[in-house]
Symmetry: C2
Subunit: 205 residues, 2 copies
Amino acid sequence: MARKIGSNGEKTAAELRAAAQRLFARHGYAAVSMRQIASEVGVQVGALYLYIADKQALLFELMDAHMTALSDALEAEPSLGDDPSARLERFVRFHLRWHLERTDAVFISYMELRNLEPQNFAKIEARRREYEDILGGILRDGVAQGVFHLADTRLGVFGIIALLNGVNTWFRAGRRLSLEGVTAIYLDMVRAAVGQKPAAQPSPD
Amino acid sequence: MARKIGSNGEKTAAELRAAAQRLFARHGYAAVSMRQIASEVGVQVGALYLYIADKQALLFELMDAHMTALSDALEAEPSLGDDPSARLERFVRFHLRWHLERTDAVFISYMELRNLEPQNFAKIEARRREYEDILGGILRDGVAQGVFHLADTRLGVFGIIALLNGVNTWFRAGRRLSLEGVTAIYLDMVRAAVGQKPAAQPSPD
DNA sequence: GTCTATATTACGATAGAC
DNA sequence: GTCTATCGTAATATAGAC
């Protein structure tokens, strides 16, 4: 399509979201001004409002896109049949890889919940519960089949999610541990925490 | 000492910190104005500056007081000798109880780190590392004595702290689970995660 | 599509009266 | 010890020129 020279609509829209994500993650939503974002994008502040209704909508769009992409990505993972151990391993591997590749979006999704207006907050929370309930299903099946030993699967979900998300607070690529190394260690901790017998786990890869 | 009627210095100072802690936890440091705090305290904004140098100092004082109280409280716990299992149990029980009784201060101490100026940030981080290294010592001793089986004690510390801190995101007193009920379940998960043999643990209380 | 300019409101912090 | 009033700055968002 013909576009005016110097007109950069789609590019500006993308850069706006990228800059906002970076700045919100670094300094926090409330501490970042629209002027700062505009400066990062390389336009004046007025130009931003061609692409967003207001600052709140910008935050919500970022978080909503993140949660949607998360659910979509998990659904796109190949299924591993009925074996709870295999499904748990798949979940842990997916969760760690996916979250460690998106540190800014993940950080925002956990830190900025309180800056969402009530309706927006409810939508994001619903998406998160959906995602976490997939893990819940794995744990419940595992307990029912006797391969996991867990006093409370609901707390098991909370515990595992918290354990895994904690990695984002300290992991930096290129240090002592690779993603694979971290994943192996955390897999051991998760399997142990759900009371999976070491004998029941498949040969390590 | 004689104090002018209507003069409320110490009370105002305490209420200022209490209000700031409550509001910072609810809405975030950057989103809370000094005017809001003053309104909660029941004074005009100018009066606040009798008790704090500026807003940043107020945040730092809250976080510093929190971390100092945390270290002091852990040190005041009775020692349990050399047995790593007993020390781990003591740590978990202390950490959960202490953190669940101070949800606002805990929330601030994890969420507002990025709003600290560099010097203040360094001080708070040093205090946190000190505290977490106490758990590190327990894990290292346990591994050395063969009662824990953990591939990486440093990641063990990160994992356990994240697991335990996650409780603050969902626990509410007076619901289905009591503090004691939660603690028992989390103790099981922690013991399992560090690879402690169930046979090695003392009789349940 | 972006700019400049601006309306409106709010911020942190201080000065001086009481 | 607290109040009122204010300084100087910056916020979000919009209007209209180009």
